[in-house]
Symmetry: C2
């Protein structure tokens, strides 16, 4: 078990280096495992794809879900070469795998020039105090749409 986990993590780290060396994006890799087998692998591709959401974990989650034809990763483990950033953290929670393993930390990422740790701090600030300010615009209509959702008979809950 321990050895298998090390093998999966080494694969994630190999992907991190591979993506970096071919200038796809930052040095981050991820593999997703189900029943002891890798079902999705990805590296960061932000600059190559001009997609700020193309982090290794997000790309791997999208691939794994496509493969499994579901929006849930029940029974899966995620191996990330670095601690997931808040975006990837959120993506993981929506995908609901069983467990997440990571190697480098958010502090390591910060030392390499990435905003992960900064974003973790910003998330706890009040809306107005954030570097990117968030402004609430109250709207009865927005809440009404939620009320319609609540009573919708044929909704797919996720």
């Amino acid at each position: 078990m321990r050895d298998a986990r090390k093998k999966f993590m080494r694969a994630a780290i190999r992907l991190a280096r591979k993506g970096m060396n071919k200038n796809s994006g930052g040095p981050f890799g991820c593999v997703i495992v189900k029943d002891g087998k890798v079902i999705a692998r990805a590296h960061n591709a932000v600059t190559d794809l001009n997609d700020p959401t193309a982090h290794a974990e997000v790309v791997a989650i999208r691939k794994a879900c496509k493969k499994l034809k579901t929006f849930q990763l029940t029974g899966c483990e995620i191996y990330a070469s670095c601690e997931p950033c808040p975006m990837c953290f959120g993506a993981i929670y929506w995908a609901r795998p069983d467990k997440v393993f990571f190697a480098a930390t958010r502090e390591d990422a910060a030392q390499a020039g990435f905003d992960d740790d900064f974003i973790y701090h910003e998330i706890d600030l009040t809306h107005a105090a954030r570097k990117i300010p968030f402004e609430a615009m109250q709207s009865k209509e927005a809440v009404t749409v939620f009320d319609e959702w609540k009573i919708k008979p044929d909704k797919s809950v996720y």
Copy 2:
């Protein structure tokens, strides 16, 4: 200015209802505005696409970046029918727009059965205490990849 903002928010809310009514996913919409014009619009498409990352904000950010051919949304404003979840919060910070406006709150979303507020709470827990446990696997190799990135001469910083 105020009227324009209301118009953009109404468009985001319209998209929320549209996506819900055609069973694309949850009742969430988003528009991205640059220089007073909408450059991207999206609604949640999680269940339709089997993609847990297909939240309105993430889809709209990807569209806007594709359109602008860049991974940065400098000079843009994001209008979301509901307060962005942690995943979308992170995506917004990586895309770096000027400002975010939202209508319904994370508490409204929670009342409609969505995990946004729950995920905001989980993010502050220790790795082991989370509902989806995160386990650190120390690896010298993972940090070495960051060291290689730091001295990489032709890297694109994002």
